[in-house]
């Protein structure tokens, strides 16, 4: 009977394509919007994850997220180093500065100042130059996307000529020399990300009493980073978080303090709702139009359980095809746009695919429930009514 169910489903091409379209549209909208939402949320904390050489971030205990950080006195670095369980600790500056190019163009950038000696917090993937060049006077390294933002005229010739290092520009009226280009995760705002030596940040950013934004620390081998964080908090009175904790704290701030989740949530819900509406209505019409046929099958000895099985099979097939097409289109979208600098970091993760799959399953089950009820309460004697 499964074969008959599939024949019935595909026999009416218009309704079949309508059903598949509804589910495809819902799957596309949900997976695409959910992926962008997840990508944007990941961007908010991407600079935290980019620092892979330190496990612990120490900061002012009123910090809510990475982009709004007051400075701490340099003495805090020594205090953290003195906490039992801390293998090493280094300072890190993170803030914003304004870059001015010789052409007069300017752009606000995210600036990291990493420890001059150890370069803890420096980018891990250098695609032009060397990370050690940060120790040179006025040296800065910029991320790939930032390079393309600041020098778009170089983009067409990048493949042929590579990145042009040695470019000179200004930050806060001080000279900078580009010594490298790195890979960095895209930040929440599409700003270039620049790295320089900590000692130079005092030149590049407006003067404040305290410059040090974070202390990056590494626990002794074998020690639980969470326990070391608690030790640091007890000894220094500063907030100490593991990398993951700080990442999720930052995401939590954006989730709770911005309209981003609400806006994306509405779109995702609309995708789900439209999917349920289109699939449900079409499926219901499909069932109603086949009611006499279902009645005949019941009269001829087909049990309710097998009819339910037929309808669920039809729903699952539609769901599977719609899901595959919708998620496939989303994958094509991200494949087509992954070279676009402003869309970097946005992609579809397996959790989104799984979540979309669950939502699609819910859509087709909800859509088929009404039809199942209609068929279950159908009296087979209806076949004798002209």
């Amino acid at each position: 009977m499964n074969w008959i169910a599939l024949k019935m489903l595909t026999g009416d091409r218009a309704k079949y394509f309508g059903l598949v379209f509804g589910v495809t549209f819902a799957a596309l909208l949900m997976s695409q919007q959910l992926s962008i939402f997840v990508g944007i949320m990941k961007r908010t904390g991407s600079q935290i994850l980019d620092v892979r050489d330190a496990d612990i971030w120490v900061m002012d205990n009123k910090v809510r997220y990475i982009d709004e950080v007051p400075g701490m006195p340099d003495t805090e670095l020594q205090r953290v180093r003195g906490v039992p369980g801390v293998q090493w600790a280094e300072r890190l500056y993170k803030g914003q500065a304004r870059v001015r190019l010789p052409s007069g163009d300017f752009r606000t950038v995210i600036l990291f100042g990493v420890d001059d000696a150890t370069l803890v917090g420096a980018p891990q993937e250098i695609i032009a130059g060397q990370v050690g060049d940060l120790r040179q006077p006025d040296a800065v390294i910029i991320d790939k996307a930032g390079y393309e933002y600041l020098w778009p005229e170089d983009v067409p010739s990048l493949k042929a000529e590579g990145y042009q290092l040695g470019k000179v520009f200004e930050m806060n009226d001080h000279r900078c020399i580009l010594v490298g280009v790195c890979k960095a995760s895209a930040p929440f705002q599409t700003m270039p990300v620049m790295y320089t030596a900590y000692s130079q940040t005092t030149w590049y950013v407006p003067r404040e009493r305290d410059t040090m934004s974070f202390v990056l620390a590494k626990p002794e081998p074998g020690l639980d980073p969470h326990q070391v964080c608690r030790n640091i908090e007890e000894r220094t009175g500063r907030m100490a978080l593991t990398r993951d904790q700080f990442f999720w704290k930052t995401i939590g701030y954006f989730l709770s303090s911005t309209g981003i989740p609400v806006n994306f949530g509405i779109t995702i819900f609309l995708g789900f709702f439209v999917g349920v509406a289109i699939a449900g209505q079409t499926f219901y019409l499909f069932t109603v139009e086949n009611l006499r046929q279902f009645g005949s099958l019941k009269a001829m000895g087909l049990s309710n359980a097998r009819i339910v099985g037929m309808i669920l099979l039809q729903a699952l097939v539609v769901g599977l095809i719609g899901y595959a097409l919708g998620v496939g289109l989303t994958a094509i979208y991200f494949f087509a746009t992954n070279q676009r600098t402003q869309l970097a970091g946005l992609n579809m993760i397996w959790e989104v695919m799984a979540g979309t799959g669950a939502a699609v399953l819910l859509i087709v089950v909800l859509a088929s429930l009404v039809s199942i009820r209609k068929v279950l309460i159908l009296e087979p004697a209806v076949v004798f009514r002209g």
């Binding site: 009977m1 008959i4 019935m8 026999g11 046929q293 005949s296 009269a299 087909l302 004798f384 002209g386």
Partner: protein, 245 residues
């Protein structure tokens, strides 16, 4: 299988017993002031090996009676035995199985599945019974050939005339060798010539010594094909015309 159903197997009912036996069957729809009494104490018998016509004006209770005989509706009161089986003793699952094995249906509007071709439509009862698809379709094709529809076995219902569709429906009704064939206005949607052909076909192919054929109709042009004609009026059997008597 229920105990009641286990007592009923194909070809066990003696041929001299009635295929259908109804006594004082009543059927009410609705309650209170909206209550409608569709059947008001119907008593009749249908013998195997005969074509029994159930005739009468619209609203006289023919459809209700045939639904009860086919096991699609429960009577409000009265006794009914089909092929020696008390239908009221069967639980839901056994009743569905009883219908699937013992009853064949021919509907006024054919009720063919539009996505299946003629052979596949005719094979549906075998598929419901769990027969493999290829085997069922092959058998249905042979049945269609018997009915003169062999060349149209691959045609979709929409590609068939009304008479051809009804022949496919008859093939579907007979494919599983039921012992009771219930036909609801089988000629109503056909012109006179096609209607006559369908009735001739029913007599030629469907009628067998151990099979009873009940035809609900108000088409007086097909009365000649019945062995017995049961006239109904206002929910009752008005008279019975037995041609053999």
């Amino acid at each position: 299988m229920s105990t009641a159903f286990a007592t009923m197997e194909k070809h066990q009912t003696p041929l001299d017993l009635p295929a259908v036996s109804c006594r004082n069957i009543t059927k009410d729809f609705g309650t209170g002031e909206a209550r409608v009494q569709a059947l008001r104490g119907v008593t009749l018998q249908v013998r195997p090996g005969e074509v029994t016509l159930l005739v009468g004006p619209s609203g006289c209770g023919k459809t209700t009676l045939i639904s009860i005989i086919a096991g699609l509706l429960d009577p409000s009161a009265g006794e009914i035995q089909i092929l020696g089986q008390d239908l009221r003793a069967l639980d839901g699952r056994a009743l569905v199985r009883f219908r699937g094995e013992q009853v064949g249906f021919v509907f006024q509007q054919y009720n063919l599945l539009p996505a299946l071709n003629a052979a596949e439509n005719a094979a549906v009862p075998l598929l419901i019974a769990g027969r493999p698809r290829a085997e069922a379709v092959a058998e249905a094709t042979r049945m269609l050939t018997t009915l003169g529809m062999g060349e149209r076995a691959a045609a979709l219902p929409v590609e068939l005339s009304g008479g051809q569709q009804q022949r496919v429906a008859i093939a579907r009704a007979l494919i599983h060798q039921p012992r009771l064939l219930v036909c609801d206005e089988p000629t109503a949607a056909l012109d006179a010539q096609a209607g006559q052909a369908v009735m001739q076909l029913l007599r030629r192919v469907a009628l067998q010594p151990d099979r009873a054929v009940i035809v609900v109709t108000h088409d007086s042009r097909v009365f000649e094909f019945g062995d017995r004609i049961i006239y109904m009026s206002d929910g009752r059997v008005e008279r019975v015309e037995d041609k053999a008597a």
